[in-house]
Amino acid sequence: MIPGPLLLIGLPLIAAPVVYLLRRWALIASALAAGTSLALGLACLRLPLDEPTTFLGQPVQLGQPVVVLGRELVLHPAGALALGFIFLLGAVVFFLAWCIPQGRLFCPVGLVLLSMISANIMIRHLLFAVLALWLAVIVAVFLIQEDRHDSVRGALRYVTMHTLAVPPFLVTSWLLDLYIENPENLAPLRTFAILLTMGFSILLAVVPFQGWVTAVAKDAPPLGTALLFSTENVAVLFLLVSLLRRYPWLLDDPLLFQMLTWGGLLAVGLGGLMALVQQDFGSLLGYGILADMGGMLLALATSSDLGMNVALALIAFRAVSLVVTGVGLSAIRRRAGSDTFADLGGMARRQPLATAALILGGLSLAGLPPLAGFAGRWALLDFFAPEHTSWCWLIFLAGCGVVIGYLRGLRATLAPAPEESEDERTQSEPVIAAVMTGATLILATALSFNPRAVFSLAARIVAALVLP
């Protein structure tokens, strides 16, 4: 009988080297990576946790715990749903990487990343969960950097900031272990609050620790950005909520949630404002993500079930927006060799589908109706409208900033090209890439008209992971 944790951590790790060896055959490598991810995603969402069953002909029990050197790994219902989402997202981006290349390391490193994130979600002990996340972050450096030679800023900032976040968790974990051994020997609550605030502020990109978000969005392959920001956010949210569920007295000190509130407001404001003035799609994407993450932080800062529900739904809708805009951005970067507005004249005519995906994905990220991101943004506004009208205005204005940023980008792609060779003028989008881009657009639009599936998944996760 294969226990669930072993399967979810081990299978991607086994598949990764095979995918790496097959990287020259993009279709086979992508299909293998996507197939592995899809199978694990469906297993998490469909298979029962508490009884034996079969997976690819092998007997498994997903809910069976595994003990490694005295530390337990177990897949809980909430973890299964979250990992189901993460693996399905992985399957989508790995499959898209077949016809919209993201670099030779994208699929194998992506699989290792998913394995580490699975470990993070299934490990019960805070210290090892954080260390698993740290390992995932370091592995992600290879995914972010890929074949870029002009800049290492994104990868460097990403790994540096996340490494700086680890020590506060090391000390918190030790203090919590002391508390478990002797509940009367509790360190001052303020010590916990300060340490956790430092750690989570960096991991959740609370202003002023937001620099890595825009740097990663600018440097990473666009589908890698979608994978990173979605999976890591889910993992960090899980870490936070699991901690609060196990030690509800941590909520007695409001420092962490005050920081999340102020940091969220600043992130929304800064993201919207900076998006207005960007001159390239990479940075614009980064500030769009920052504004959206700010909204997520505000929802999270309420420390309520409904707030958590909205935060998770925002991550899911953001993932859809990022995949759509990422498909377009990848195609355009590949064609033009740049994503700077000034270099993209005539792109809307030469690559209409890619341009449409890029702009519509960005507008969805901004929460413009009737696109997919609107459902999440509406839920956020609806959540805050009764008590925090000023926050709603700020979120709305930040969305407007991102919309204007993308409209400026659209204008640049509609402008005539300065000089075009005959080859460039007649060269059209590759058929397969165009078909995949079109399919992604259609699926995202379909989701925007029926967002209940996302809200239902978020509600099921929150119900399984009850907040104190």
Binding site: F128, L135, I138, H149, V152, V159, P167, L170, W174, D177
Partner: protein, 221 residues
Amino acid sequence: MPIFADLLEKLSFLAGTPAVAGLALTASLIVVSGDWRLSLLALLVQYILTGLLSTRLLPPQLALIKIYVGALICPMLYWAARRVEWTRKRRRQPEGTPLPPWPALTMGLPFRVLGMVLIGLAVYALGPSYPLPQVPWEIGLACYWLGLSGLLGLILTDEPFQAGLALLTFVTGCELFYAGLESSLLATGFLAAGNLLLALAMAYLTVVRGVGPVVEQEAGR
């Protein structure tokens, strides 16, 4: 293994103030020096001294792991730096133009030295006022020195090689402190794996940053 364990025991007389002073020196060299060979040698010595100090907090087998990790990390970074240097020397330079220095220092030597002096003052103030729990005071000073020097090094550079050394110095300081709090094999193993992966990532970024533009230029030519 027994040879290293014996050696560690013979060197145990250093596991006190001499090791702390040595760590202060190595961390300062990493931040101040512009010579990658010297910085890398300082990093290797830093891992050995940290291993020695760790014998006061951890079982010798676990303390040895830290030295092994250092012994694996330094060749990785050496290979990366060497590769960058070979590629730069191979690159055609216009007649009479000297090769620009690598790694490029964003701040001058006096500024870096001043920064380290400030770090020294900060450690002098923090050590007695906020002693770290569960570790002897001189090890606490070493933790502060390594952690703060690492942070300063990160602030002063955007070169992946030097940022990597600074980040590893920061992590070493935190690990030394954590060794006083917990001595489990799993935690030590996880941290060792993290250090090795971190060094690998930094070596990769060093090569990408140093070699990539040259390769692209040659491909374009």
